[in-house]
Subunit: 227 residues, 2 copies
């Protein structure tokens, strides 16, 4: 059985990606990171999702002491989503950007894949209904693929490890529809950037989740936030 | 004063790179990794070198539970260097290769650089007198530079963080000569892959160190190994 590493944050996208990878016949090894994020609560979600999907799961603890992000630094306020983005702000990267996050995650996933002989790394990144994070764009994944070809034993030996981004061009609504078809346990997923008991309903992540469920015509099983 | 991140392993190459970066006028932030390497002893060396150079220093602990390397797994014997490499072995990557190591190190260095506004990451990789590690080659660093351009806020905002590999084409002897000119404290550096009190004198790393000092006509201040 072919092996895959699946980066699992505990959100809708990565959960859907996991179920998709399973459907494609991969034995999936799920990987999450405890990187000091405010919303560490997402790790409980990731664990539950992996367990529901009957997949091995591990959390790696990493330390980013330089912070530089609202997700890591409680002194920075998590911005509220403004759904009327002016053109000048439409490409702005918000303060919730974590320097190098997906690059670090992929690097560990790559090491894991080489270590256990997995052929593929799945990541649920996409460029619709997202927060302009540069490390969610196709050009970044193409560049990282070149890193694999040139900088690893697998690459040199022509057993290249592939990065799969099956959601890259999907809207949040399409991801949710796909997730429903795959029986993704939406009730266990977590999206909110605030690390509290109920989704705040105000951050970018809550905004896009609510928009996606609304457009898909599906009811979100998580309670509506009121912080 | 311009800031730089310097990846400091505690060996000759990274120590020389640090002194070179300092000479170029950078305020250098040194970064080492405790990644479960057998030769954790190199971290004491790194700390001493950073302190001698009067530079801030931090060690990040990372966990690579999948191992996949003789440097991480005490069940795998560290290979002795064979100085008559047959053509069929000349491009072979040895068991001391650590999956994704420099990719992970660079990813953290990149996050650090974005977090504190550093312009450059220095790494002492080179392709002469080395062990065929793929993540020491110029094509890998070019590929990683493209990751920075496409996958980071700095890249998108045209404040690209540069990777500097000043030793990439130098032989070990040239690095040692350069290090002497820069007053690098060779006596604090550590190269041996075995984590014991004296260099083993037999591993690839000891072999290239000895060869370099011999060719440079300089005496290595470290004791000769006899394991």
């Amino acid at each position: 059985m072919k092996k895959a590493i699946v980066l699992l944050s505990g959100g809708l996208d990565s959960a859907t990606t996991l179920y998709l990878a399973k459907k494609q016949g991969y034995k999936c090894f799920c990987l999450s990171f405890d990187y000091g994020q405010r919303h560490r609560r997402e790790l409980e979600s990731a664990k539950k999702i992996a367990s529901t999907a009957n997949c091995p799961y591990q959390i790696l603890k990493i330390n980013l002491p330089w912070k530089g992000s609202a997700l890591l630094d409680s002194n920075i306020v998590i911005p509220k989503h403004s759904n009327i983005r002016t053109p000048e702000h439409s490409n702005k990267i918000p303060s919730t950007y974590v320097p190098g996050r997906n690059i670090i995650f992929l690097s560990f996933a790559l090491s894991f894949a080489e270590g256990i002989g997995a052929e593929v790394i799945f990541i649920g990144a996409h460029t619709h209904d997202y927060s302009n994070y540069p490390d969610c764009r196709p050009e970044f994944y193409r560049a990282f693929s070149r890193v694999i070809t040139t900088g690893t034993k697998s690459g040199v030996e022509q057993r290249k490890i592939k990065i799969e981004t099956p959601l890259i061009k999907k809207t949040k609504a399409q991801i949710i529809e796909m997730g429903r078809t795959l029986d993704v346990p939406f009730q266990f997923t977590w999206s909110c950037y605030q690390g509290v008991n109920r989704p705040c309903g105000k951050c970018d992540s809550c905004y896009y989740r609510a928009k996606g469920f609304k457009e898909a015509g599906i009811k979100d099983p998580l309670p509506k936030g009121r912080l």
